[in-house]
């Protein structure tokens, strides 16, 4: 008997005893759905939690600042820097050459006077204010803790586009859901070149205009605006030139003497973050990274994942017992059929194959339905959670299709059902034709 013939025969038998087949499939489907839904929700939650901790950047990200390390804080997640120091291209290259460093993204910061053309939420005008513009190579944003909330990122190399963050919106009385309001508005950004020569304070200002092209959550540097590094470098070049009057030059502030305000370093794995931070401290720069927090959270999430998987597996095991029970009943009820098959030449192997195909089919159909149902449940739960998050002003969490989990649920259900069918199939195959017919 071929596999095709066995499948055909098993299908006919399942259709003959519909009620039992449907109930068995339902049990498997519910178990597979539970497993799929739990794992999907757990994976989505893990992704969201870790993304929140990494602020949208890589988990193995390290912030380096143009400051000396404070010996008392080295190794702490939120270590603060000590005295200001110079972080130049040579230092960036030294950090880049460290083992286990995958990427180094320099961050430039410039203090700027900001004039906003967008009215506040209550219609009044906002007085000009000073804040930092954070400049990065926009092409490197995928390596940075930057998440676009509305609009888009500035074009790489653009000197007239910026994004703003939630703090900026709050100045104007807006909240995160209002972010699209800011997109398209313009800012005037002034950089001051100042110096005191004798008792005279001399100032020049360079002003540009920039269009707000997006709203971001950014942790790449301290500042409410994110722009291309070309924009901040042009402003920094202007501001860092010493004011000279009658041949006497005013000193330049240390913060302007450092070409970069900081850098974002990506280690090749979360396990190597501590080592890389230690080596960066050895080079004379302060660093911070949520490595300890991420490691703790990952441990907790792993435990939660194991518990949820166990719950789903228990349900599947119960369903498998149901399959065994149903198949054993089928064997008892079909002794005459088995006898006829054996009498006309069916081998033990043919009988075993028919019953294994039958139980495997129940598992496969149940697994397929369960995977679809589980995903639907996860999406429904995600919808409810997202409504709550959006109401609270947070970003919605998209529930990704858990391909691996769904395939695993189908394959696992089928395999479990086949295993559950082994005992009844073996029992059926051991029946002799006479013994089977004798039960008539």
């Amino acid at each position: 008997m071929s596999w095709r013939q066995a499948i055909s025969l098993a299908g006919k038998e399942l259709r003959r005893r519909t009620g039992r087949a449907v109930l068995t499939v339902l049990a498997v489907a519910l178990a597979a759905a539970l497993l799929t839904a739990l794992l999907t929700i757990a994976n989505t939650a893990e992704t969201k939690v870790l993304d929140e901790l990494a602020k949208g950047g890589p988990l193995s990200g390290i912030r380096v600042s143009a400051a000396k390390p404070d010996a008392a804080q080295v190794g702490q997640d939120d270590a603060k820097g000590g005295a200001a120091t110079v972080l130049d291209q040579a230092a960036i290259d030294r950090i880049r050459s460290l083992p286990s460093v995958r990427e180094v993204v320099p961050v430039s910061v410039i203090r700027s006077i900001v004039v906003v053309d967008l009215a506040r939420r209550d219609g009044s005008r906002l007085a000009s204010f000073a804040d930092n513009i954070v400049g990065v190579d926009i092409r490197n944003v995928p390596n940075l803790p930057v998440t676009v909330l509305a609009g888009r990122l500035p074009a790489p190399g653009s000197t007239n586009e910026v994004t703003v963050n939630e703090g900026f919106l709050e100045r104007l009385g807006y909240r995160r859901p209002d972010a699209p309001v800011a997109v398209g508005s313009t800012l005037s950004l002034g950089t001051t070149q100042a110096g005191r020569v004798g008792d005279r304070l001399i100032e020049s200002q360079r002003w540009i205009r920039a269009t707000v092209v997006g709203v971001v959550a950014q942790e790449a540097g301290e500042g409410q605006m994110l722009a291309s590094i070309e924009l901040t470098e042009a402003a920094r070049t202007f501001a860092s030139q010493p004011i000279t009057v009658d041949g006497r030059a005013a000193p330049v502030a240390v913060r302007l003497a450092s070409p970069f305000a900081g850098a974002f370093v990506v280690a090749d794995s979360i396990e190597n973050v501590g080592r890389v931070r230690s080596e960066i401290s050895g080079l004379g720069f302060a660093s911070s990274a949520p490595e300890n927090l991420i490691a703790s959270v990952e441990r907790y999430l792993t435990v939660v994942g194991i518990v949820l998987t166990s719950v789903g597996l228990i349900a599947l095991a119960v369903a498998a017992i149901g399959i065994t029970n149903a198949t054993l009943s089928a064997v008892r009820e079909r002794r005459r059929d088995i006898g006829v098959l054996k009498a006309i030449g069916a081998t033990d192997r043919d009988i075993r194959r028919i019953f294994l195909v039958e139980s495997g089919s129940l598992g496969a159909i149940g697994g397929l339905l369960g995977a679809a149902l589980g995903y639907a449940v996860a999406v429904t739960v995600g919808t409810v959670v997202n409504r709550y998050l959006v109401d609270q002003g947070f970003e919605a969490v998209p529930v990704a299709i858990p391909v691996t989990t769904m395939v695993g649920a189908v394959v696992g259900s089928t395999a479990l059902a086949v295993i559950a069918g082994i005992l009844p199939a073996a029992r059926a195959s051991r029946l002799s034709a006479r013994e089977a017919m004798g039960s008539l």
Binding site: T18, A21, V115, S128, Q205, V340, I344, V379, A396
Partner: protein
């Protein structure tokens, strides 16, 4: 095949409602999945995708150098810049425009012109347009020297690439003191081919938003033909 044929004869009954029930169950699950998917909020339009690189503007951007004394001063409290006439003018220029404000409070043209030119050179800025507004700190009886200094400044600005130079003058006195040499400013403008912007009739408080806007409008009209 004999086995199968025999089995087919054995399996005869019971294929009536089973298929319908299975189909109904699959349909129900499919509907649930579809309903849940349709309830999912739409994906946010915001994206971390890196846009294509910026392209250089077809027309060279305006680089505006502002020279002068108190009226356009680049210093002061941070919160005071919103509403000043230089910011209003900049807001009226194309978004690619850049302004370098070198104006210094308390200086006369004799004290400020050379120093501001030196700072312009130091910044490496090549202006395409320039505005000049001195007159509030000028000593009395020095009209000839004022005229010479202003003419020289305009010449230097043109040498540095400024194709449009706008000279601003004001005759109205304020509580602080007299504005001087507006007539000389007008004459220098005529002699050097520069534009002249008289800002008179602004009342006693030119710092008011309406007055600053009037100054900005008058200057902008000369900078953007």
């Amino acid at each position: 095949m004999r086995v199968v044929d025999a089995a087919r004869r054995v399996v005869v009954a019971g294929r009536t409602t089973s298929l319908t029930v299975c189909l109904a169950m699959v349909l129900l699950l499919g509907m649930m999945a579809g309903l849940a998917t349709s309830c999912t909020p739409p994906e946010p339009k915001a994206s971390n995708a890196v846009p294509p690189p910026a392209v250089a503007p077809a027309v060279a951007p305006i680089v505006w150098a502002s020279f002068g004394a108190d009226e356009g001063s680049a210093s002061g409290p941070v919160e005071s810049f919103e509403g000043r006439w230089p910011q209003r003018v900049l807001a009226g220029l194309p978004v690619t425009a850049e302004m370098v404000n070198l104006s210094t409070s308390g200086v006369s043209i004799g004290e400020g012109a050379a120093e501001q030119l030196a700072r312009l050179d130091q910044a490496g800025t090549r202006p395409t347009v320039a505005t000049v507004w001195f007159g509030s700190n000028e000593p009395e009886g020095r009209s000839a020297a004022f005229t010479r200094s202003l003419t020289s400044l305009v010449d230097e600005l043109k040498k540095r690439g400024a194709t449009d130079v706008v000279l601003i003058g004001r005759r109205t006195t304020t509580g602080r003191g007299p504005y001087r040499y507006a007539d000389e400013v007008e004459r220098v403008a005529a002699a050097t081919g520069s534009a002249f912007v008289p800002v008179d009739g602004l009342g006693r408080n030119p710092g008011e938003p309406a007055a600053q806007q009037a100054i900005a409008d008058a200057v902008l009209a000369k900078l953007t033909p």
